[in-house]
Subunit: 397 residues, 4 copies
């Protein structure tokens, strides 16, 4: 057991709070030692909120602090490259929030920074680490649902919580950049991260907000195996944060609901009142509180993996290369939304090749079994195809 890590936390927004709540939680050996904020006031408030020894308005000072051995970046997207460069400059492991960059080009530069310097880079994609996702991925990898054919990942809510998200220049886009990055990595995890994303079809629109960026998007991502990923993202959903994944395999199905229907349900007339969950819209009526947001959103598993990886000298589950792949898929989404056609995912692929998904055909009396079914009256029916003639016939058993 090491003595734990001493962290420079860059950024004091909602994500900085979630990260620090996690790092300081549950008997952890790790602690935030320095916080960086562009604002002295927000830095001081953060120090007090989390009992952090040092605050600064200089990134260089934060990452260079003698007590710090790891850097966590929770800054707006347009500041990731600068912050990673600073951490790499002092040779310290760096963990960067999602998305890695605003474009694949930017993400590639960020990836090159850590790789050319030989510095540890961890991509803080928390939703791949939620307890439900981890458990489901274990089953999927054990073969419980056969070959994955389709993954739906949905993240929608009534819109993000800081001004910069809504500004396409700082963020690099709208809800695709904010939420689609999660979905893409969830989809990749289910279809296999060695399964190349080949091309993308995307629709996006700005339906209800007076902004330039998209507030709604749907995309299809086709993988080398033939599997199809589908993401749905929106900043206009009503009812809280809808965070669901669905997977169809040749031998089974997975449904994971991370937020709005998790088995904790409450009705309140509005008496008393209390925090329900991130992005919930109401504090009376039927409520669906999230039990432990830091754990349920994957932050706990994620930081455990990251710091264990540093300690063990291995790669984390989510690397800067993964962040770069995600940006490449999102670039294709933006291109497809504009061109109104399938667009190839352009990237430097390192993941090898994946065979076409398949299900072995069953043969009976020389005929291909298409389906076996129970009828309401208890009978069983075989649907058969004659490979010679191509004709289909029913056979009641």
């Amino acid at each position: 057991m090491t003595t734990g890590h001493r962290v420079a936390m860059l950024g004091t927004g909602l994500i900085g709070d979630f990260y620090t709540m996690t790092l300081h939680g549950q008997r952890s050996r790790d602690r935030v030692e320095v916080v960086y904020s562009r604002s002295t006031e927000r830095g001081a408030a953060f120090q007090q909120r989390w009992g952090v020894a040092n605050a600064t308005t200089s990134i260089a000072e934060a990452v260079g602090h003698a007590d710090v051995d790891a850097v966590v970046i929770g800054l707006p997207n347009h500041m990731h490259e600068e912050a990673v460069a600073a951490a790499v400059g002092v040779g310290k492991p760096v963990l960067c929030t999602k998305p890695l960059g605003r474009t694949a080009e930017e993400a590639r530069r960020i990836l090159d920074l850590v790789e050319s310097a030989g510095v540890f880079g961890g991509y803080l994609e928390d939703l791949v680490y939620t307890p439900k996702t981890v458990k489901a991925l274990d089953s999927v990898r054990a073969g419980a649902i056969g070959d994955v054919m389709w993954v739906r990942s949905r993240e929608t809510h009534p819109g993000p919580h800081s001004a910069w998200f809504w500004d396409a220049d700082q963020a690099g886009g709208g809800c695709i950049i904010d939420l689609g990055c999660h979905c893409i990595e969830i989809i990749r995890s289910y279809v296999g991260k060695g399964n190349r994303p080949v091309e993308v079809m995307c629709w996006s629109d700005t339906l209800v907000h007076p902004i330039d960026a998209e507030d709604n998007a749907i995309a299809l991502v086709k993988f080398e195996s033939g599997a199809i990923g589908q993401f749905e993202v929106s900043w206009a959903f009503r009812g809280g944060m809808d965070l669901r994944d669905e997977v169809a395999g040749t031998e089974g199905t997975v449904w994971a609901n991370h937020f709005l229907r998790t088995g904790l349900e409450m009705f309140s007339s509005g008496a008393g009142g209390s925090y329900v969950a991130e992005k919930s819209e109401t504090e009376s009526g039927w409520l669906f509180p999230v039990a432990d947001e830091a754990a349920d959103l994957g932050y706990v598993n994620m930081f455990s993996d990251m710091f264990d990886a540093i300690d063990e000298g291995r790669e984390p589950i989510e690397t800067f290369y993964d962040g770069y792949v995600v940006n490449a898929v999102m670039d294709a989404c933006f291109r497809s939304s504009a061109s109104r056609a399938w667009e190839p995912v352009e990237l430097d692929w390192r993941g090898g090749t994946t065979a076409r998904l398949a299900k072995p055909a069953r043969v009976e009396d020389g005929l291909t079994v298409i389906k076996e079914e129970h009828l309401p009256d208890g009978r069983r029916k075989l649907i058969l195809k004659d490979p010679a003639t191509g004709k289909f016939v029913d056979r009641i058993m």
Copy 2:
């Protein structure tokens, strides 16, 4: 109260059984008087199963029978046109199962048959009539969720129950034709049937079956209002029949689960054993029986509407024109799947025009309110946009 209708039932497959179970159910005044089957044996079995007075292997004889005043078609898709023509020929009201045709061109000819003869034509799209859909549509039309932005309609199961469905010539396609027709009409009902379907983007593939037709498809349907419909259909889903609709509006959300999670759950070691529901895969373990399939799938409401419409001299909720629109959308799906691009929906549109969906912007101190949010610590934050500069700012309250 009239004395009820005497029906010629054309077809003795699963759908004929469901239709007759419904017509003969719950104190109904309506009865099947004649059944037509291509097979004498199946006709006789049907007669016995449902207590039907007459059977024939001639469509003309069935529709022309003196005791019959209405014709219900539950035949394979390639026989619809012939059967409708027969009913129209004897001037009797005709109700035709879905899809109306195999193509929009065929559907158009079928539509013209009833319209030029002035005969009543009812389109038997049951899933628009499920109790949950009817209830949800009432709320949506009353404005409870504002303007509809997005509808997801999903129907997936392990594949249909008769050989002809799997034969693209007889059916006109694969799971798009079999299941997509339901989804399209559900989507139209939520976005408004006067809301023109403008264009379609579709992916389809044959992932696991040794057939020519598609066994998986996803399509996006864009409507004149800007609303987007999304359907997911599959003949390769594992776990039963997944029949769900989701609607996002500017003021709310609807989720309807018609089959696998309806509040009736059972675990069985496998003792005893009994019919669970259409397309269920297992009779032990955790089961999700459907309480009353004829009612829950919409057949009861559908036939009530159809016969009431005949009695009252009005149009039913679902007409042959609706069936034609659905075929036109499916044609665009097949074209898009081939061209890999958005394809226009080509149809003779009768539904008028629909304005762009919108949500009025809220203004405070001359700034546009983008969002108001609760933070975990109880504070409230306004995100504001300055219309003059386009800049976004946070304001904590």
Copy 3:
């Protein structure tokens, strides 16, 4: 097919509305011909609401009307005996709402009225007829969950909708009389109606209302087979109407949720607004509308059974004798609540005897297998009992 029944509806309250909505619904051949109300005004409003030809303030006139061949009683509890007597007096089939009487003694007199006159008596216990209950009972009777060990039936809501319910003199009690009667008959249906209810233990209290009657109660009902029934009733529940049944059998489990979680979920900001369901408390936030209340509460199946039974000259599923048994159980509940001890159910039992429930023991190597379990690491463990020594041992496989 008969021409249908012509009904005298006694009572114009919420239950009269539900009954009539059902009788006039979905292609029914049956119609209300006369309505009786104590109030001319309410009778006239009812006539207009449901298109009923005749109204009267005389029970005798209503039941004696020449167009009437069946009487339906939807009156407050203290008027049941008088109304049944009137119907029996004119020799017409009579269907009486629940509970049959305010006490077993009163119920017994009502039962004797129909039996001594040889008149058809149907007990309108709708919740035994809900589609989910009917489906689940089919499975239970087919043996899918083995011998029933335990049934929980819960009906709680924020309180009834008419003044007389709250008045213990007119009603015969509080929520036990109003809601417990449903639960008892649901429990009996699952454990078997030939399974004698032997004794009862009941707690009741008036926790939050300024009334004399109980507003909360829980009871245990022990049956001859050893099975235990448990009902929970309350007029103080918050969040709508909680109507759930749970059954544990030696080979399986049933969970039925009839109202608050049925697969139809809606979020509304409160725009538009529309009726959600009986006893719902709110029209904004997350809502759980009931799709088709008349069907989902069992009224449709119930009246079908009742009128079919009359037409076929058989007994209905729910008879006046069942109503009498329910009253006898409720009497024991009230006695137990007062005596704070188990009280015998005193009744004239006609149901025969039922054997003790059992599960055959499995024997391996002369040892009784108590349990076989999967461990997290994949091992299997047998827990065995030596019948000779009574010692228990683990054996890992």
Copy 4:
């Protein structure tokens, strides 16, 4: 931040595994240094499984080990007193699994051991610490559901995993001792731990197993405030582990489902196969895996509270006194089950007094408002009671 705790783990069964998995999990600073087992073989296997430095078959050696500063007891019930005495003898903080004793008398002696020695005693009641319970208790304590009227806590499964549980001598009883102890403490947490449990009514029976101990029980626990607790425990439930809590308050409702319906659902044809969750019965069909059992069952929060309490010199949330109260309630359950009557809870109460729960009455025009309701047609109805006459009237608004 301290350097963490070094633990002697007494016991190597399933609970020892869960405890150690938790202690060694997620960046924890705490570690098991010594394991005690009655069996050298099981001790060695445990050492290897969890990387524990030392193993012994002597409790004295384990607790006295120089590297150990805290003792965790995961032994069968009949060994708790001996083990606590050993830990107290060496003056080290001791954490004991549930139930504390087999009887209140034994629990009292155990409590006295730590109190007279001034040693820290923590009661390892994990289910009070599940993330859902913690979140729900926060809301309840903030007043979100008003005064608590009723709590149902249910824990049922197909039976425990080690032979000694089934032996009433070693365990002190059957499923009441095994599972009821959890439920009682959950109930106490919701109604308030200062709310005295006054009396108990309990039914128990041995329905399906060839054992002397009860395999099914239901109990009602009445509290000083008038609130009622209800627990249902069984070793004969089919379908996995049913772990649910329901709370009714004057202003709201809580439903927590900890195991079988948590938003992670999977269908598998049985391919691959993998561990689903503790006590699951099947690996094919519809499965409901538990995402992270150690966290979801409360172990993570529990040990954090325990060790933080030691570090901070405060009491943990669950003390040996709580364990003693739980045993006192269970004693009353066993007495009640035998006497078939309400039995007082006999205990040395330290929790003060609690006022009768209440809801302020609303008055309008001098009349008490009993209820306000929405009717299906949109009207509102007030039910009023005249305090002078005691009469109830309806008033439609």
